[in-house]
């Protein structure tokens, strides 16, 4: 039977087992919305802004290991989606975004709601397509899912002109795809893996540094086995949190700009570094030249060859899927007669424990004013460390990363690479839909939440009882912190004046709002909020406006040039 391009697109989503499409209609996608209307396998979640559609699809993908799907119209629909797409791109999140386009005969004529969507999104997608022939719709969508999920994952956009969505052709969903120019590596090179094993066994001051690649590759099990077998210290990047259990004694905290003292110093001083699915980001290793001052051997496992030797020189590059490579590395280690250097390890751990002794995350609590760290510690306690936590961007994000101890992957959902304020709430919607029975909280600031606050309406419509934890310090806190440290306390435009009454706002959207002003009320309020299983509760915690995030490695400085709270 012949189907329209629109019907084919929806059939493809069904074939891919897509549960939810996050989207917003408009002229160029009307046929696709019509096709959605006539079926009930794929459920559509109507967001209030296309950026949120993409973030929601992203949150869904990050929390599940599935591909997230968004649907937007041409022109402003597509441009609104760009921030979401770039966010997913920077963090390697598999998404398929379907955008409508003006009819093919109008392309290039500055038609109503025409933008060059493929051109605009080109630098922030893994790949994109403009489908000009209805006979290509099915094969293109098949390819899009394959590209999004395989290799180093990423967003793939499929732009479908309106006439193409209305033309008819026979529908055959391809069972397999191959793209002749695309062959992501799976297994690492055997010789390199052996070399890596030898370096690890000979190490005196070893360090394992694991990033988001471990989460994306579902490699936690292998990583845990490796770390336990070797007895080495391990740190996670912001993106990697949960990839290794934070409560384990070999975990020495997150590293990077706001990482722990012990993680950063161990990273700096190690003699053999095993980097797993991480990319030596500037927020992670700080100043590259400073990092290079200590001679060390680096083993780098990554699925993307271009991530290797991009910022630092690498001794043993291993291109492959992290889970596969770690599996092979474990096999080599198990079959080796040599053991890690126990004596050296004792000395190394002694050193690390000394650094740990600084207790760098200690903060001075108060009876008068709510400390943000305290809220997060309570959040951790009350949720038993078992919630899905999304966050926005700023100080609250860093505090959450520091104080919420993630023991499982895919529980910590944040925009690490692009640092997109406005990510948290829509991402939480995607997470909640994927895990309806789980506890889902969004930690945010009064700045960030206002970037996508309209989604409270979506949450009402689709009954998504997310807990919004707003750490309201009346400042764009992270900006204020930098201004305090590096711009002579000139708080240029970082004060959030004329804030809305968030409690009333939540109520206006049909939710529950709670304002908390006293430290003694924090725990009770959190308990009450989480007890309300079926309500979205917006908690407005009035926190200390002057609190700063420590430790801090200032931009451009080296990992050992860290500022601690006690230094000030």
């Amino acid at each position: 039977m012949e189907l329209t391009g629109a019907e084919i697109a929806i059939r493809c989503l069904q074939e891919e087992g897509v549960e939810y499409v996050f989207g917003y209609p408009g002229g160029a996608v009307l046929f696709i919305y019509d096709a959605l209307f006539n079926q009930d396998k794929v459920k559509h979640i109507l967001v209030r802004h296309e950026q949120a559609a993409v973030h929601a699809a992203d949150g869904y993908a990050r929390s599940t290991d599935k591909v997230g799907v968004a649907l937007v119209t041409s022109g402003p629909g597509a441009t609104n989606a760009v921030t979401g797409i770039a966010t997913a791109y920077m963090d390697s999140i598999p998404l398929v975004i379907i955008s409508g386009q003006v009819p093919t005969s109008f392309i290039g004529e500055d038609a109503f709601q025409e933008v060059d969507t493929v051109g605009i999104t080109r630098p922030c997608v893994k790949h994109n397509f403009l489908v000009k022939d209805v006979r290509d719709v099915a094969s293109t969508i098949k390819k899009a899912f394959y590209l999004a999920k395989s290799g180093r994952p990423g967003p793939v956009l499929v732009d479908i002109p309106k006439d193409v969505s209305n033309q008819k052709t026979e529908f055959n969903y391809p069972t397999a795809v191959s793209v002749r120019s695309y062959h992501p590596a799976q297994h690492g090179e055997e010789g390199q893996i052996k070399q890596a094993a030898q370096l690890l066994l000979d190490a005196k001051r070893p360090m394992i540094y694991a990033g988001g690649g471990v989460v994306l590759s579902e490699a936690s099990k292998q990583l845990i086995e490796l770390v336990r077998l070797l007895g080495f210290p391990i740190t996670n990047t912001l993106m990697g949190l949960g990839g290794y259990p934070a409560t384990d004694k070999q975990f020495i905290g997150m590293l990077g700009m706001h990482g722990t003292y012990e993680a950063n110093l161990a990273m700096h001083n190690c003699d053999v570094l095993l980097a797993v699915g991480a990319r030596f980001d500037d927020r992670v290793i700080g100043n590259v030249a400073h990092f290079g001052q200590v001679p060390r051997k680096i083993i780098h496992i990554d699925i993307d060859p271009s991530s290797i030797a991009k910022r630092v020189r690498v001794d043993v590059p291993i291109v492959g899927d992290v889970a596969h490579v770690l599996g092979d590395l474990l096999a080599v280690l198990h079959s080796s007669k040599q053991q890690p250097d126990a004596q050296a390890l004792v000395a190394w751990w002694k050193q690390i424990d000394e650094w740990r002794g600084k207790n760098c995350l200690l903060y001075r609590n108060s009876d008068e004013v709510i400390k943000p760290q305290f809220v997060l510690q309570k959040l951790y306690e009350i949720t038993g460390g078992d919630a899905f936590i999304t966050s926005d961007v700023g100080q609250h994000q860093m505090w959450t990363a520091q104080y919420y101890k993630f023991d499982q992957p895919r529980r910590w959902i944040n925009s690490g690479g692009l640092g997109t304020m406005g990510f948290g709430l829509p991402a939480a919607m995607g997470v909640k839909l994927a895990h309806p029975d789980a506890t889902v909280a969004c930690v945010t600031g009064e700045g960030s939440i206002q970037m996508n606050i309209q989604e409270l309406s979506t949450c009402k419509q689709f009954r998504l009882p997310i807990k919004v934890i707003a750490l309201n310090n009346r400042y764009l806190g992270m900006v204020r912190q930098w201004q305090e440290f590096f711009h002579g306390n000139r708080y240029s435009e970082s004060y959030m004046d004329a804030l809305p009454d968030f409690v009333k706002l939540a109520e206006a959207y049909g939710h529950v709002g709670i304002r908390v002003t006293k430290p003694s009320d924090v725990e009770g309020a959190l308990r009450e909020a989480f007890a309300r299983k079926n309500d979205l509760v917006f908690m407005d915690f009035q926190t200390d406006p002057t609190e700063n995030v420590f430790p801090m490695v200032p931009g451009g400085k080296g990992l050992s040039e860290v500022i601690l709270a006690e230094d000030l």
């Binding site: 051109g119 080109r122 403009l130 120019s181 060859p305």
Partner: protein, 163 residues
Amino acid sequence: MRHIISLLMENEAGALSRVAGLFSARGYNIESLTVAPTEDQTMSRMTIVTSGSDDVIEQINKQLNKLVEVVAVMDMNEGDHLERELMLVKVRAVGEAREEMKRMADIFRGRIIDVTDRSYTMELTGSGSKLDSFLQAIDTSMILETVRTGACGIGRGDRILKL
């Protein structure tokens, strides 16, 4: 160092802008870029002349390989290769210069392909540096117009870039 990178890519709209966009987005140099169809209708071949440190060149090769439409990449400088570029030059050719220009064309093995009573248009091929030397060898005030194709490269002997 200067590198000539050749690539085969899918003959699809947009493939060229993906490559060009990569270079501008990541701040890589492009000295020249040429692209034309191959005997295989589904593919075109691009030659990019770029320069950078070894690390940058390594990244360029990796980033190019990462583009989904790029089928194969070969860094010509990793082995023996030939480089050719075509240049058309229109020069003043009046009075004494008429003979002089003809002689220069001969020395550089160029050919005069269009003649008027005031000008010659010459065709020269060779490596980029040979074409540069030609332009340096003649008086700039004599040059009316130049156009160069940008370099293309091919491996010597058994070094073949083909699918």
